[in-house]
């Protein structure tokens, strides 16, 4: 089914939707497998006509695995058709939305990036790429990005094992239909040697205002780096940690099984969550007024501004989220803050307005949206 951005926008919470867990510290979990087809150049070295052939091949394999049992089924295929990946619980797997970023409006592409469905790199060179995505956005497949195939599972909260189970099912299904580039020693061969082996990158987005405010974040980050994991911001290419949002992911992909990598990552994340909890409790105990002030000012800016930049909005949403987690707001929910976190993105604002907006127009609309959505907090 040809995708439309409007279908995705019906999930106002995007990847941040669903039940909250871990005290709201781990906002989302993402798992990604990089796969390539044997006997073909990697996308970066492919001439355009071969790129589209790869796209058709992968789409055929995906639709053979996810097609709903209806009219098109014929003859011998009917009885043996595989169930859609993860099709249990009546999820609408057959209805993967298909996007061709190269043929889309820039703003629509950026909406996909703000919803974590495509990478910034794909935004820069979208020609010949394809995105297949489940309408609830929990599973997506990017074709002809850095690698021929990138399978992604994205879930709110801290759910590494669930993501792995989901991706394994889809990966196994595609492997029955496609010849993956695989080497006995090096594993799955990827366009960049940083992904070779499992081709797996697992990451979690953490909200760490406690560690930042208490000045412990630099030591934490250094510690994580020594454990062969990497830390970055949640925005830009990982260079922007606005909103005290950090993404922690595995750095190495070879020499350990998928489960071992996830175990190591999960152990570290659990530890950081515990440290963050301690830091928050410490801050509240040590200087309650400073915390009330931090949360109150954040709320004040969001509630009473008429001109609000993207970075400032996210920074203040972090403060408000801290307050929500600490039980300082009566009726404001974490879900509402998450919804705003997505909605204040430049592309989402422009999509909502139905046209391109200048920076000052965006700032005005962002402020109006925050005032409106927080008015009953």
């Amino acid at each position: 089914m040809k995708g439309s951005i409007e279908t995705l926008l019906r999930n106002p919470l995007g990847f941040l939707g669903g039940p909250a867990g871990d005290d709201g510290i781990v906002l989302s979990t993402r798992l990604r497998f990089a796969r390539n087809l044997a006997g073909h150049r990697f996308p970066g070295a492919l001439p355009p006509e071969e790129r589209s052939a790869i796209g058709e091949t992968v789409e055929a394999a995906v639709s053979a695995g996810t097609a709903p049992p209806k009219g098109r089924r014929t003859g011998a295929a009917a009885g043996r058709r595989k169930k859609a990946p993860g099709a249990s619980a009546g999820s609408p797997d057959g209805e993967l939305l298909v996007f061709e970023p190269g043929a889309m409006e820039r703003i629509d592409r950026e909406v996909l990036a703000e919803r974590r469905l495509v990478t910034d790199e794909l935004l820069r060179s979208p020609a010949g790429t394809m995105l297949l995505v489940r309408p609830d956005e929990t599973v997506s497949i990017t074709v002809n990005g850095e690698d021929h195939i990138r399978l992604q599972a994205l879930r709110p909260g801290f759910r590494l094992a669930e993501c792995l189970g989901e991706l394994n099912r889809i990966d196994d299904l595609l492997a029955e239909r496609l010849d993956y580039a695989f080497d006995d020693k090096l594993g799955y061969l990827t366009a960049s040697p940083t992904n070779v082996g499992t081709g797996m990158r697992a990451s979690a987005m953490l909200h760490l205002p406690g560690l930042v405010l208490s000045g412990q974040i630099a030591a934490t980050v250094q510690g994580i780096g020594k454990l062969n994991l990497s830390v970055g911001g949640a925005f830009g290419d990982g260079t922007d940690n606005r909103g005290n949002l950090f993404v922690i992911s595995n750095q190495s992909t070879l020499g350990e099984s998928e489960e071992q990598i996830l175990e190591r990552l999960a152990a570290v994340i659990r530890q950081i969550v515990a440290q963050e909890r301690l830091a928050r409790a410490g801050l509240i105990e040590k200087d309650q007024n400073a915390i009330y002030d931090f949360v109150g000012r954040s709320y004040g800016v969001l509630r009473h501004s008429y001109c609000l930049g993207g970075a400032e909005a996210v920074k203040c949403l972090s403060g408000v989220r801290f307050g929500v987690d600490a039980g300082l707001f009566g009726s404001l929910t974490a879900a509402r803050v998450n919804e705003l976190l997505l909605a204040v993105g430049s592309a989402h604002l422009q999509k909502r307005a139905g046209r391109e907006l200048s920076a000052s127009e965006r700032a005005a609309r962002r402020a109006a949206l925050c005032r409106e959505m927080l008015k009953n907090a």
Partner: protein, 198 residues
């Protein structure tokens, strides 16, 4: 871009670190980066693989271009860098399958095709061993050999275009043959068997 410390050498190492809760990036030359690393000044968040490969690639190749069995120096051990060794890297022959060069690999940190792993093995293995946790894949493997399936899917895609063309020209007999072929191929891909020969 010049190194932000000495303002003399080209910055070849790009590093991110956290200072006061903010991520800041540094653009350094190899010797200033080494100095900072030794002084423990870098809380490294990420690294530019292209530079790591290039730097370590040089270290893992002996001056005669042969592979160093010891695997080269320590990360940041810039003392073994010689001015001539950079050229040694680019002297590796291009990938016979796709023509990708070692220079392209070093510049982009990307390979051209799966065969490049063989073509640039000395360069890749040296680097991989340093930033991966082992040299052998211990994870999952693709299931039953799907040999030939990619080719069959490509054939289906081609036949679908042909079918549309035939229908638009109202050549229904040929279209029916084409449709049956597509169905047979689809069945074989779904079931794992080879398509029956016509």
């Amino acid at each position: 871009m010049l190194c932000e410390v000495c303002h003399q050498n080209e910055a070849t190492i790009h590093i991110k670190e956290v200072r006061n809760g903010k991520i800041v990036s540094h653009d350094l030359c190899a010797s200033c980066a080494k100095l900072k690393e030794e002084q423990g000044e870098l809380g490294v968040l990420g690294f530019n693989l292209a530079e790591v490969l290039f730097k370590f690639g040089k270290l893992s190749l002996k001056p005669d271009g042969g592979e160093d069995p010891s695997g080269g120096g320590e990360p940041g051990g810039g003392e073994r860098e010689g001015s001539g060794e950079a050229e040694k890297v680019s002297e590796l022959p291009p990938c016979p399958a796709c023509g990708w060069t070692a220079k392209l690999l070093c510049e982009s940190s990307r390979l051209g095709c799966p065969e490049c792993y063989r073509a640039f093995a000395p360069l890749i293995e040296g680097a991989v061993e340093r930033f991966q946790r082992g040299g052998f894949h211990l994870g999952k493997r693709p299931g039953a050999a799907a040999a030939g399936k990619t080719a069959r899917l490509a054939e289906i895609a081609k036949l679908k275009r042909e079918l549309a063309r035939l229908v638009s020209r109202e050549e229904y007999e040929a279209a029916a043959v084409c449709r049956d072929r597509i169905n047979a191929l689809r069945a074989s891909v779904a079931g794992g068997a080879e398509p029956a020969e016509e």
